[in-house]
Protein backbone atom coordinates (compact mmCIF):
# COMPACT_ATOMS: atom_id res chain seq x y z
CA UNK A 1 0.00 0.00 0.00
CA UNK A 2 2.76 2.42 1.07
CA UNK A 3 4.80 1.47 -1.96
CA UNK A 4 1.90 2.21 -4.32
CA UNK A 5 1.10 5.55 -2.70
CA UNK A 6 4.75 6.55 -2.81
CA UNK A 7 4.95 5.61 -6.47
CA UNK A 8 1.81 7.65 -7.22
CA UNK A 9 3.31 10.69 -5.51
CA UNK A 10 6.52 10.26 -7.47
CA UNK A 11 4.61 10.01 -10.75
CA UNK A 12 2.56 13.11 -9.92
CA UNK A 13 5.81 14.90 -9.13
CA UNK A 14 7.25 13.90 -12.49
CA UNK A 15 4.13 15.17 -14.30
CA UNK A 16 4.20 18.49 -12.44
CA UNK A 17 7.92 18.89 -13.09
CA UNK A 18 7.49 18.15 -16.80
CA UNK A 19 4.59 20.61 -17.03
CA UNK A 20 6.70 23.27 -15.33
CA UNK A 21 9.56 22.58 -17.69
CA UNK A 22 7.18 22.88 -20.64
CA UNK A 23 5.90 26.24 -19.35
CA UNK A 24 9.49 27.44 -19.01
CA UNK A 25 10.37 26.22 -22.51
CA UNK A 26 7.31 27.82 -24.16
CA UNK A 27 7.44 31.18 -22.39
CA UNK A 28 11.20 31.58 -22.14
CA UNK A 29 12.95 33.75 -19.57
CA UNK A 30 10.93 36.85 -20.58
CA UNK A 31 7.64 34.98 -20.19
CA UNK A 32 6.56 35.83 -23.77
CA UNK A 33 5.21 33.96 -26.77
CA UNK A 34 5.37 35.85 -30.05
CA UNK A 35 3.31 35.11 -33.13
CA UNK A 36 3.58 36.94 -36.42
CA UNK A 37 3.72 39.06 -38.39
CA UNK A 38 0.47 37.89 -39.98
CA UNK A 39 -1.20 39.52 -42.97
CA UNK A 40 -4.78 40.79 -42.62
CA UNK A 41 -6.50 41.43 -45.92
CA UNK A 42 -8.67 44.50 -45.64
CA UNK A 43 -8.99 47.80 -47.48
CA UNK A 44 -11.07 49.38 -44.72
CA UNK A 45 -10.17 51.68 -41.89
CA UNK A 46 -10.89 49.44 -38.93
CA UNK A 47 -10.02 45.98 -37.68
CA UNK A 48 -11.73 45.09 -34.42
CA UNK A 49 -12.25 42.07 -32.18
CA UNK A 50 -15.83 41.18 -31.26
CA UNK A 51 -16.51 41.30 -27.48
CA UNK A 52 -16.14 37.58 -26.62
CA UNK A 53 -12.88 37.21 -28.55
CA UNK A 54 -10.51 38.39 -25.83
CA UNK A 55 -11.92 36.08 -23.19
CA UNK A 56 -8.87 35.84 -20.94
CA UNK A 57 -7.77 38.15 -18.18
CA UNK A 58 -4.44 38.53 -16.45
CA UNK A 59 -2.35 37.81 -19.53
CA UNK A 60 -0.22 40.62 -20.89
CA UNK A 61 -0.52 41.05 -24.63
CA UNK A 62 1.56 43.01 -27.04
CA UNK A 63 0.17 43.97 -30.43
CA UNK A 64 2.23 45.44 -33.24
CA UNK A 65 0.39 46.69 -36.34
CA UNK A 66 2.49 47.52 -39.37
CA UNK A 67 1.30 49.20 -42.56
CA UNK A 68 3.33 49.97 -45.68
CA UNK A 69 4.59 53.34 -46.92
CA UNK A 70 4.56 54.93 -43.51
CA UNK A 71 0.81 55.26 -43.35
CA UNK A 72 -0.50 56.48 -39.98
CA UNK A 73 -2.01 53.73 -37.89
CA UNK A 74 -3.51 53.39 -34.43
CA UNK A 75 -3.81 50.44 -32.05
CA UNK A 76 -6.07 50.61 -29.03
CA UNK A 77 -7.66 48.42 -26.39
CA UNK A 78 -10.91 49.65 -24.88
CA UNK A 79 -14.01 48.52 -23.04
CA UNK A 80 -16.21 46.78 -25.62
CA UNK A 81 -19.06 49.16 -24.79
CA UNK A 82 -16.96 52.09 -26.00
CA UNK A 83 -15.34 50.36 -28.97
CA UNK A 84 -18.62 48.95 -30.26
CA UNK A 85 -20.37 52.29 -29.97
CA UNK A 86 -17.46 54.09 -31.62
CA UNK A 87 -17.40 51.75 -34.64
CA UNK A 88 -21.15 51.05 -34.80
CA UNK A 89 -21.64 52.85 -38.12
CA UNK A 90 -18.24 52.20 -39.65
CA UNK A 91 -17.50 49.41 -42.14
CA UNK A 92 -15.00 47.16 -40.43
CA UNK A 93 -13.11 43.88 -40.47
CA UNK A 94 -14.37 42.07 -37.40
CA UNK A 95 -12.57 39.18 -35.74
CA UNK A 96 -15.22 36.99 -34.14
CA UNK A 97 -12.93 34.36 -32.68
CA UNK A 98 -9.24 33.93 -32.19
CA UNK A 99 -7.10 31.04 -31.05
CA UNK A 100 -3.38 30.95 -30.51
CA UNK A 101 -1.05 31.09 -32.23
CA UNK A 102 -3.02 32.61 -35.16
CA UNK A 103 -6.33 31.02 -35.96
CA UNK A 104 -8.97 33.60 -36.86
CA UNK A 105 -12.63 33.62 -37.73
CA UNK A 106 -13.31 37.02 -39.22
CA UNK A 107 -15.70 38.80 -41.55
CA UNK A 108 -16.23 42.13 -43.22
CA UNK A 109 -19.08 44.06 -41.56
CA UNK A 110 -20.82 46.59 -43.75
CA UNK A 111 -21.30 49.99 -42.20
CA UNK A 112 -23.21 53.14 -42.97
CA UNK A 113 -19.94 54.98 -43.50
CA UNK A 114 -16.42 54.07 -44.56
CA UNK A 115 -14.66 56.48 -42.22
CA UNK A 116 -14.28 56.80 -38.48
CA UNK A 117 -16.59 59.13 -36.52
CA UNK A 118 -13.65 60.98 -34.99
CA UNK A 119 -9.91 60.69 -34.58
CA UNK A 120 -9.17 57.73 -32.27
CA UNK A 121 -6.30 59.65 -30.72
CA UNK A 122 -8.75 62.26 -29.39
CA UNK A 123 -10.72 59.80 -27.30
CA UNK A 124 -10.17 59.46 -23.56
CA UNK A 125 -11.51 55.98 -22.91
CA UNK A 126 -8.78 53.79 -24.40
CA UNK A 127 -7.29 51.53 -21.76
CA UNK A 128 -4.12 51.29 -23.85
CA UNK A 129 -3.25 53.00 -27.09
CA UNK A 130 -0.43 53.59 -29.53
CA UNK A 131 -0.13 55.46 -32.80
CA UNK A 132 2.58 55.97 -35.37
CA UNK A 133 3.64 56.20 -38.98
CA UNK A 134 4.06 52.77 -40.56
CA UNK A 135 3.48 51.01 -37.29
CA UNK A 136 1.98 51.25 -33.84
CA UNK A 137 2.00 48.99 -30.84
CA UNK A 138 0.58 48.47 -27.39
CA UNK A 139 1.56 46.27 -24.49
CA UNK A 140 -1.04 45.85 -21.79
CA UNK A 141 -2.51 43.35 -19.40
CA UNK A 142 -6.01 42.14 -20.30
CA UNK A 143 -8.38 43.31 -17.58
CA UNK A 144 -11.39 41.52 -16.12
CA UNK A 145 -13.86 43.76 -17.96
CA UNK A 146 -14.97 42.87 -21.48
CA UNK A 147 -12.61 44.52 -23.91
CA UNK A 148 -12.05 44.84 -27.64
CA UNK A 149 -8.91 45.49 -29.61
CA UNK A 150 -9.04 47.94 -32.51
CA UNK A 151 -6.53 48.66 -35.24
CA UNK A 152 -7.54 51.85 -37.00
CA UNK A 153 -6.36 53.95 -39.90
CA UNK A 154 -5.79 57.58 -39.05
CA UNK A 155 -6.93 60.44 -41.28
CA UNK A 156 -7.70 59.60 -44.90
CA UNK A 157 -5.51 56.50 -44.82
CA UNK A 158 -6.58 52.84 -44.84
CA UNK A 159 -5.25 49.53 -43.57
CA UNK A 160 -4.28 47.94 -46.89
CA UNK A 161 -1.18 45.82 -46.39
CA UNK A 162 -1.72 45.48 -42.66
CA UNK A 163 0.51 42.98 -40.85
CA UNK A 164 -0.05 42.12 -37.22
CA UNK A 165 2.22 40.53 -34.65
CA UNK A 166 0.91 39.37 -31.31
CA UNK A 167 2.88 38.62 -28.16
CA UNK A 168 1.55 37.05 -24.99
CA UNK A 169 3.29 37.51 -21.72
CA UNK A 170 2.41 35.74 -18.54
CA UNK A 171 3.92 37.95 -15.91
CA UNK A 172 6.16 35.72 -13.78
CA UNK A 173 5.31 32.74 -16.00
CA UNK A 174 8.91 31.54 -16.25
CA UNK A 175 9.25 31.70 -12.49
CA UNK A 176 5.99 29.85 -12.14
CA UNK A 177 7.34 27.12 -14.43
CA UNK A 178 10.49 26.93 -12.35
CA UNK A 179 8.35 26.71 -9.26
CA UNK A 180 6.41 23.82 -10.74
CA UNK A 181 9.64 22.02 -11.62
CA UNK A 182 10.84 22.39 -8.04
CA UNK A 183 7.47 21.30 -6.74
CA UNK A 184 7.66 18.24 -8.97
CA UNK A 185 11.16 17.41 -7.79
CA UNK A 186 10.01 17.80 -4.21
CA UNK A 187 7.11 15.49 -4.98
CA UNK A 188 9.43 12.85 -6.40
CA UNK A 189 11.71 13.07 -3.36
CA UNK A 190 8.83 12.90 -0.96
CA UNK A 191 7.27 9.98 -2.83
CA UNK A 192 10.56 8.11 -2.73
CA UNK A 193 11.00 8.67 1.00
CA UNK A 194 7.40 7.80 1.70
CA UNK A 195 7.77 4.61 -0.29
CA UNK A 196 10.85 3.68 1.73
CA UNK A 197 8.94 4.34 4.93
CA UNK A 198 11.15 7.24 5.93
CA UNK A 199 9.93 10.59 7.21
CA UNK A 200 11.20 13.67 5.40
CA UNK A 201 11.41 15.48 8.75
CA UNK A 202 13.74 13.17 10.74
CA UNK A 203 16.78 11.12 9.81
CA UNK A 204 15.67 7.56 10.54
CA UNK A 205 13.11 4.89 9.92
CA UNK A 206 9.59 5.27 11.10
CA UNK A 207 7.20 2.93 12.72
CA UNK A 208 3.77 2.46 11.28
CA UNK A 209 2.49 5.29 13.39
CA UNK A 210 5.48 7.41 12.29
CA UNK A 211 6.99 7.73 15.74
CA UNK A 212 10.83 7.64 15.95
CA UNK A 213 12.31 4.40 17.21
CA UNK A 214 13.81 4.38 20.66
CA UNK A 215 17.60 4.73 20.59
CA UNK A 216 18.18 1.59 22.61
CA UNK A 217 15.90 -0.36 20.36
CA UNK A 218 17.93 0.89 17.44
CA UNK A 219 21.09 -0.59 18.90
CA UNK A 220 19.23 -3.76 19.64
CA UNK A 221 18.02 -3.97 16.10
CA UNK A 222 21.44 -3.50 14.56
CA UNK A 223 23.62 -6.44 13.74
CA UNK A 224 26.75 -4.64 14.98
CA UNK A 225 29.55 -6.58 16.72
CA UNK A 226 29.85 -5.93 20.43
CA UNK A 227 33.18 -5.75 22.17
CA UNK A 228 33.91 -5.80 25.88
CA UNK A 229 36.76 -4.35 27.85
CA UNK A 230 38.08 -6.43 30.72
CA UNK A 231 40.33 -4.79 33.32
CA UNK A 232 42.43 -7.28 35.21
CA UNK A 233 43.80 -7.04 38.74
CA UNK A 234 46.87 -5.17 37.48
CA UNK A 235 44.72 -2.52 35.92
CA UNK A 236 45.44 -3.67 32.37
CA UNK A 237 42.59 -3.41 29.86
CA UNK A 238 41.76 -6.36 27.60
CA UNK A 239 39.37 -6.17 24.69
CA UNK A 240 37.39 -9.31 24.18
CA UNK A 241 34.75 -10.33 21.72
CA UNK A 242 31.33 -11.65 22.70
CA UNK A 243 32.31 -15.14 21.64
CA UNK A 244 35.31 -15.01 23.95
CA UNK A 245 33.34 -14.11 27.03
CA UNK A 246 32.93 -17.73 28.09
CA UNK A 247 36.71 -18.06 28.44
CA UNK A 248 36.79 -15.18 30.90
CA UNK A 249 33.54 -16.06 32.66
CA UNK A 250 32.28 -12.51 32.29
CA UNK A 251 28.71 -11.32 32.61
CA UNK A 252 26.85 -8.70 30.50
CA UNK A 253 28.23 -5.13 30.79
CA UNK A 254 24.86 -3.77 31.86
CA UNK A 255 25.01 -5.90 34.97
CA UNK A 256 28.71 -5.70 35.72
CA UNK A 257 30.58 -2.58 36.75
CA UNK A 258 33.86 -4.13 35.66
CA UNK A 259 32.89 -4.15 32.00
CA UNK A 260 31.56 -1.38 29.81
CA UNK A 261 29.85 -1.48 26.47
CA UNK A 262 31.62 0.35 23.66
Amino acid sequence: MRAKAGLSIMLAGVVVALFGAAVMAVLGPDGRVISGPHRIKTDGVAVVTAPPTLSWAGVRIGVLAEVPVNKPVFVGLGNSLDVQNYLAKTARYQIDSYHTPWNLKAREVKGEVENLPSAPTALDWWLAQGAGLGGASISTRLPDETVSLAILAIGSSNLTGLRVSVAYEVHGGFALGAGLVLLGVAGVLFGRMYRAGRSPWVDGHTTEDHEPIDEDDQYGADEESVEYVYVDADGTEHVVGADELVDYELVDADQDDDGERR
Binding site: P51, L81, D82, G172
Partner: protein
Protein backbone atom coordinates in the same frame (compact mmCIF):
# COMPACT_ATOMS: atom_id res chain seq x y z
CA UNK B 1 14.76 16.44 15.39
CA UNK B 2 15.04 18.38 12.09
CA UNK B 3 17.72 17.39 9.63
CA UNK B 4 19.20 18.67 6.36
CA UNK B 5 16.45 16.76 4.52
CA UNK B 6 13.75 18.64 6.40
CA UNK B 7 15.52 21.92 5.71
CA UNK B 8 15.74 21.09 2.02
CA UNK B 9 12.04 20.29 1.87
CA UNK B 10 11.16 23.53 3.63
CA UNK B 11 13.39 25.51 1.24
CA UNK B 12 11.80 23.88 -1.79
CA UNK B 13 8.35 24.68 -0.50
CA UNK B 14 9.31 28.29 0.23
CA UNK B 15 10.83 28.74 -3.23
CA UNK B 16 7.75 27.28 -4.91
CA UNK B 17 5.47 29.58 -2.95
CA UNK B 18 7.66 32.61 -3.63
CA UNK B 19 7.87 31.90 -7.35
CA UNK B 20 4.15 31.25 -7.58
CA UNK B 21 3.44 34.54 -5.86
CA UNK B 22 5.41 36.36 -8.59
CA UNK B 23 3.08 35.10 -11.29
CA UNK B 24 -0.26 36.62 -12.30
CA UNK B 25 -2.23 33.58 -13.28
CA UNK B 26 -4.20 34.17 -16.49
CA UNK B 27 -7.80 33.09 -16.18
CA UNK B 28 -10.87 32.83 -18.34
CA UNK B 29 -13.29 35.65 -17.67
CA UNK B 30 -16.35 34.62 -15.68
CA UNK B 31 -18.61 37.21 -17.20
CA UNK B 32 -18.73 38.40 -20.80
CA UNK B 33 -21.34 41.08 -20.11
CA UNK B 34 -20.62 44.35 -21.82
CA UNK B 35 -20.93 47.16 -19.32
CA UNK B 36 -18.92 49.88 -17.64
CA UNK B 37 -19.13 52.32 -14.80
CA UNK B 38 -20.01 55.53 -16.62
CA UNK B 39 -17.23 57.58 -15.06
CA UNK B 40 -14.75 57.19 -12.27
CA UNK B 41 -14.11 59.95 -9.76
CA UNK B 42 -11.13 61.32 -11.66
CA UNK B 43 -13.13 61.60 -14.88
CA UNK B 44 -15.98 63.31 -13.01
CA UNK B 45 -13.60 65.89 -11.56
CA UNK B 46 -11.93 66.53 -14.93
CA UNK B 47 -15.29 66.98 -16.67
CA UNK B 48 -16.53 69.35 -13.98
CA UNK B 49 -13.34 71.40 -14.03
CA UNK B 50 -13.49 71.70 -17.81
CA UNK B 51 -17.11 72.82 -17.57
CA UNK B 52 -16.28 75.40 -14.90
CA UNK B 53 -13.37 76.77 -16.96
CA UNK B 54 -15.54 77.23 -20.05
CA UNK B 55 -18.43 78.75 -18.07
CA UNK B 56 -16.04 81.20 -16.43
CA UNK B 57 -14.65 82.17 -19.80
CA UNK B 58 -18.14 82.64 -21.25
CA UNK B 59 -19.24 84.83 -18.36
CA UNK B 60 -16.12 86.97 -18.60
CA UNK B 61 -16.72 87.42 -22.33
CA UNK B 62 -20.47 87.91 -21.91
CA UNK B 63 -20.91 85.41 -24.72
CA UNK B 64 -22.62 82.03 -24.51
CA UNK B 65 -20.85 80.68 -27.61
CA UNK B 66 -18.11 78.76 -25.74
CA UNK B 67 -20.80 76.94 -23.76
CA UNK B 68 -21.74 74.94 -26.86
CA UNK B 69 -18.71 72.74 -26.09
CA UNK B 70 -19.87 71.87 -22.56
CA UNK B 71 -23.66 72.33 -22.49
CA UNK B 72 -26.24 69.93 -23.82
CA UNK B 73 -29.01 71.37 -26.00
CA UNK B 74 -31.45 72.24 -23.20
CA UNK B 75 -28.92 73.74 -20.81
CA UNK B 76 -27.36 75.66 -23.69
CA UNK B 77 -30.76 77.09 -24.64
CA UNK B 78 -31.36 78.27 -21.06
CA UNK B 79 -27.84 79.65 -20.71
CA UNK B 80 -28.00 81.40 -24.08
CA UNK B 81 -31.30 82.98 -23.06
CA UNK B 82 -29.88 84.32 -19.83
CA UNK B 83 -26.79 85.62 -21.64
CA UNK B 84 -29.01 87.37 -24.18
CA UNK B 85 -31.04 89.01 -21.45
CA UNK B 86 -27.86 90.17 -19.77
CA UNK B 87 -26.44 91.43 -23.06
CA UNK B 88 -29.58 93.40 -23.96
CA UNK B 89 -29.56 94.91 -20.52
CA UNK B 90 -25.98 95.96 -21.26
CA UNK B 91 -24.67 94.18 -18.24
CA UNK B 92 -22.48 91.20 -17.61
CA UNK B 93 -24.19 88.01 -16.57
CA UNK B 94 -25.15 88.69 -13.01
CA UNK B 95 -24.56 85.14 -11.92
CA UNK B 96 -20.97 85.99 -11.09
CA UNK B 97 -17.96 83.84 -11.88
CA UNK B 98 -18.48 80.19 -11.11
CA UNK B 99 -16.86 78.84 -7.98
CA UNK B 100 -18.09 75.31 -7.72
CA UNK B 101 -17.10 72.65 -5.28
CA UNK B 102 -17.99 69.02 -5.76
CA UNK B 103 -19.69 67.70 -2.64
CA UNK B 104 -20.45 64.22 -3.95
CA UNK B 105 -20.45 62.21 -7.14
CA UNK B 106 -22.31 59.12 -8.30
CA UNK B 107 -22.12 57.05 -11.46
CA UNK B 108 -24.16 54.07 -12.63
CA UNK B 109 -22.90 50.90 -14.33
CA UNK B 110 -24.41 51.01 -17.80
CA UNK B 111 -24.77 48.57 -20.66
CA UNK B 112 -25.20 51.11 -23.43
CA UNK B 113 -24.75 54.75 -24.36
CA UNK B 114 -25.52 57.45 -23.39
CA UNK B 115 -23.28 57.37 -20.34
CA UNK B 116 -24.04 59.73 -17.50
CA UNK B 117 -23.03 60.60 -13.99
CA UNK B 118 -24.25 62.85 -11.24
CA UNK B 119 -22.58 65.54 -9.12
CA UNK B 120 -23.77 67.45 -6.11
CA UNK B 121 -22.08 70.81 -6.36
CA UNK B 122 -21.95 73.81 -4.08
CA UNK B 123 -22.13 77.00 -6.15
CA UNK B 124 -20.59 79.76 -4.05
CA UNK B 125 -21.41 82.48 -6.56
CA UNK B 126 -25.16 81.80 -6.40
CA UNK B 127 -25.30 80.34 -2.89
CA UNK B 128 -27.09 77.27 -4.16
CA UNK B 129 -26.62 73.52 -4.31
CA UNK B 130 -26.77 72.07 -7.81
CA UNK B 131 -27.46 68.54 -8.89
CA UNK B 132 -25.52 68.39 -12.13
CA UNK B 133 -26.02 65.54 -14.55
CA UNK B 134 -23.33 65.16 -17.20
CA UNK B 135 -24.02 62.99 -20.20
CA UNK B 136 -21.99 61.51 -23.02
CA UNK B 137 -24.20 60.56 -25.94
CA UNK B 138 -21.69 58.44 -27.84
CA UNK B 139 -18.15 57.15 -27.54
CA UNK B 140 -16.99 59.81 -29.99
CA UNK B 141 -18.64 62.75 -28.24
CA UNK B 142 -17.73 64.95 -25.28
CA UNK B 143 -19.24 65.00 -21.82
CA UNK B 144 -21.90 67.70 -21.74
CA UNK B 145 -23.93 69.19 -18.91
CA UNK B 146 -27.41 67.80 -19.52
CA UNK B 147 -29.26 68.95 -16.42
CA UNK B 148 -28.48 71.29 -13.55
CA UNK B 149 -31.42 71.91 -11.22
CA UNK B 150 -30.57 74.22 -8.34
CA UNK B 151 -31.68 73.84 -4.76
CA UNK B 152 -31.53 76.04 -1.71
CA UNK B 153 -28.72 75.06 0.66
CA UNK B 154 -31.42 74.22 3.21
CA UNK B 155 -33.22 71.75 0.96
CA UNK B 156 -32.88 68.21 2.23
CA UNK B 157 -31.79 65.84 -0.50
CA UNK B 158 -32.84 62.22 0.03
CA UNK B 159 -30.00 59.74 0.32
CA UNK B 160 -29.14 58.20 -3.03
CA UNK B 161 -29.02 54.40 -3.03
CA UNK B 162 -26.00 52.54 -4.36
CA UNK B 163 -25.27 48.98 -5.32
CA UNK B 164 -21.67 47.72 -5.60
CA UNK B 165 -20.53 51.32 -5.36
CA UNK B 166 -22.64 52.53 -8.26
CA UNK B 167 -25.96 54.32 -8.27
CA UNK B 168 -29.06 52.49 -9.40
CA UNK B 169 -31.02 53.86 -12.36
CA UNK B 170 -34.80 53.48 -12.20
CA UNK B 171 -36.92 52.86 -15.25
CA UNK B 172 -39.57 55.54 -15.73
CA UNK B 173 -42.34 52.91 -15.56
CA UNK B 174 -40.89 51.06 -12.56
CA UNK B 175 -43.13 51.69 -9.54
CA UNK B 176 -41.48 49.17 -7.20
CA UNK B 177 -41.23 50.66 -3.73
CA UNK B 178 -43.26 53.71 -4.70
CA UNK B 179 -46.92 54.67 -4.81
CA UNK B 180 -46.41 56.13 -8.28
CA UNK B 181 -43.85 55.45 -10.96
CA UNK B 182 -41.74 58.35 -12.18
CA UNK B 183 -43.74 58.77 -15.38
CA UNK B 184 -47.07 59.01 -13.55
CA UNK B 185 -45.63 61.39 -10.96
CA UNK B 186 -44.37 63.70 -13.69
CA UNK B 187 -47.71 63.56 -15.47
CA UNK B 188 -49.56 64.59 -12.29
CA UNK B 189 -47.07 67.34 -11.61
CA UNK B 190 -47.51 68.86 -15.07
CA UNK B 191 -51.30 68.58 -14.67
CA UNK B 192 -51.02 70.40 -11.34
CA UNK B 193 -49.08 73.23 -12.96
CA UNK B 194 -51.64 73.54 -15.75
CA UNK B 195 -54.70 73.28 -13.48
CA UNK B 196 -53.87 73.88 -9.83
CA UNK B 197 -57.30 72.80 -8.64
CA UNK B 198 -57.49 69.60 -10.68
CA UNK B 199 -57.79 66.18 -8.99
CA UNK B 200 -54.25 65.41 -10.23
CA UNK B 201 -52.90 68.37 -8.28
CA UNK B 202 -53.79 66.64 -5.02
CA UNK B 203 -51.44 63.79 -5.89
CA UNK B 204 -48.35 66.00 -5.80
CA UNK B 205 -47.12 68.44 -3.19
CA UNK B 206 -47.98 72.13 -3.43
CA UNK B 207 -44.28 72.93 -3.21
CA UNK B 208 -42.27 76.12 -3.62
CA UNK B 209 -41.97 75.77 -7.39
CA UNK B 210 -45.73 75.45 -7.87
CA UNK B 211 -46.38 78.42 -5.59
CA UNK B 212 -43.76 80.51 -7.42
CA UNK B 213 -45.33 79.75 -10.80
CA UNK B 214 -48.84 80.42 -9.49
CA UNK B 215 -47.72 83.80 -8.15
CA UNK B 216 -46.16 84.67 -11.51
CA UNK B 217 -49.39 83.84 -13.28
CA UNK B 218 -51.35 85.99 -10.84
CA UNK B 219 -49.00 88.92 -11.48
CA UNK B 220 -49.27 88.65 -15.26
CA UNK B 221 -53.03 88.25 -15.11
CA UNK B 222 -53.23 91.53 -13.23
CA UNK B 223 -52.18 93.39 -16.38
CA UNK B 224 -55.13 95.41 -17.61
CA UNK B 225 -56.23 94.85 -21.19
CA UNK B 226 -54.15 91.68 -21.48
CA UNK B 227 -55.33 88.11 -21.46
CA UNK B 228 -52.59 85.95 -20.04
CA UNK B 229 -52.36 82.20 -20.14
CA UNK B 230 -49.69 79.68 -19.14
CA UNK B 231 -49.31 76.16 -20.48
CA UNK B 232 -47.05 73.39 -19.31
CA UNK B 233 -45.74 70.28 -20.96
CA UNK B 234 -42.93 67.85 -20.45
CA UNK B 235 -40.12 66.54 -22.58
CA UNK B 236 -40.21 63.27 -20.66
CA UNK B 237 -37.79 61.87 -18.17
CA UNK B 238 -34.07 62.29 -18.78
CA UNK B 239 -32.86 59.99 -16.02
CA UNK B 240 -34.01 58.78 -12.64
CA UNK B 241 -32.10 57.20 -9.78
CA UNK B 242 -33.12 55.12 -6.79
CA UNK B 243 -33.09 56.67 -3.33
CA UNK B 244 -32.40 54.75 -0.12
CA UNK B 245 -36.05 54.97 0.95
CA UNK B 246 -37.08 53.04 -2.16
CA UNK B 247 -38.15 56.16 -4.00
CA UNK B 248 -36.61 57.93 -6.98
CA UNK B 249 -35.01 61.22 -7.94
CA UNK B 250 -36.21 62.17 -11.39
CA UNK B 251 -34.50 64.54 -13.80
CA UNK B 252 -36.88 66.03 -16.32
CA UNK B 253 -37.31 69.11 -18.47
CA UNK B 254 -40.62 70.97 -18.48
CA UNK B 255 -41.80 73.27 -21.24
CA UNK B 256 -43.68 76.40 -20.34
CA UNK B 257 -45.41 78.82 -22.68
CA UNK B 258 -46.64 82.24 -21.45
CA UNK B 259 -49.05 83.85 -23.90
CA UNK B 260 -50.16 87.48 -23.91
CA UNK B 261 -53.20 88.57 -25.94
CA UNK B 262 -53.49 92.34 -25.97
CA UNK B 263 -56.80 94.14 -26.34
CA UNK B 264 -57.13 96.04 -29.59
CA UNK B 265 -55.84 99.60 -29.40
CA UNK B 266 -53.55 98.88 -26.45
CA UNK B 267 -49.87 98.02 -26.25
CA UNK B 268 -47.82 96.43 -23.50
CA UNK B 269 -44.27 97.28 -22.49
CA UNK B 270 -41.95 95.69 -19.94
CA UNK B 271 -39.12 97.07 -17.86
CA UNK B 272 -35.53 97.06 -19.15
CA UNK B 273 -33.63 93.88 -18.38
CA UNK B 274 -36.76 91.74 -18.26
CA UNK B 275 -36.90 88.56 -20.39
CA UNK B 276 -40.13 89.84 -21.93
CA UNK B 277 -38.52 93.01 -23.22
CA UNK B 278 -35.43 91.13 -24.38
CA UNK B 279 -37.35 88.58 -26.38
CA UNK B 280 -40.61 90.36 -27.33
CA UNK B 281 -39.14 93.75 -28.07
CA UNK B 282 -40.08 97.17 -26.82
CA UNK B 283 -43.80 96.52 -26.83
CA UNK B 284 -46.48 94.21 -28.18
CA UNK B 285 -49.85 95.39 -29.46
CA UNK B 286 -51.51 92.16 -30.54
CA UNK B 287 -50.09 89.03 -29.00
CA UNK B 288 -46.85 87.50 -27.88
CA UNK B 289 -45.60 84.34 -26.33
CA UNK B 290 -42.51 83.37 -24.40
CA UNK B 291 -41.15 79.81 -24.27
CA UNK B 292 -39.32 78.56 -21.21
CA UNK B 293 -37.41 75.45 -20.28
CA UNK B 294 -37.44 74.37 -16.64
CA UNK B 295 -35.15 71.52 -15.64
CA UNK B 296 -36.58 70.03 -12.49
CA UNK B 297 -35.46 67.55 -9.88
CA UNK B 298 -38.59 65.66 -8.92
CA UNK B 299 -38.51 63.48 -5.82
CA UNK B 300 -40.89 60.53 -5.82
CA UNK B 301 -40.71 59.22 -2.23
CA UNK B 302 -40.82 55.56 -1.30
CA UNK B 303 -44.18 54.12 -0.23
CA UNK B 304 -45.67 55.97 2.73
CA UNK B 305 -43.08 58.71 2.32
CA UNK B 306 -45.52 61.34 1.11
CA UNK B 307 -46.34 62.72 -2.32
CA UNK B 308 -43.97 63.71 -5.13
CA UNK B 309 -42.39 67.13 -4.94
CA UNK B 310 -39.91 69.28 -6.84
CA UNK B 311 -36.68 69.83 -4.90
CA UNK B 312 -34.93 72.10 -7.37
CA UNK B 313 -35.16 73.70 -10.78
CA UNK B 314 -33.13 75.60 -13.34
CA UNK B 315 -34.95 77.46 -16.05
CA UNK B 316 -35.21 80.43 -18.31
CA UNK B 317 -36.53 81.87 -21.54
CA UNK B 318 -35.42 80.01 -24.64
CA UNK B 319 -37.53 81.66 -27.36
CA UNK B 320 -40.32 84.10 -28.12
CA UNK B 321 -42.78 85.21 -30.73
CA UNK B 322 -44.65 88.51 -30.71
CA UNK B 323 -46.25 91.24 -32.77
Amino acid sequence: MTTPKAGLSACLLAIVLALSACAVIPHKKDDATISKVAANEQTAVEVFERYTRVLKSARELGDSQPLSTVDDETVLAIDSGSFEVAQRAASKNKSGLPEGEILASWAPRLKKYPLWFLLRVKDESRDTIKMQLFEKKSAASQWLLASTPEMLPTTKLPEIASKDGTLVPVDESDSRGMDLDAKQALKYYVAALNTPDSPSAAKVLDDGFRRQMRDAVATEKALKGVTFSQQWGSEGIDHSVRTSDGGALVFSTLLRRDTYDVKKGLSVTWPDGSPQKTFLGKEISKSGSLNFYHQILLYVPGSDGGVPRVLGQFGGVVGAKGD
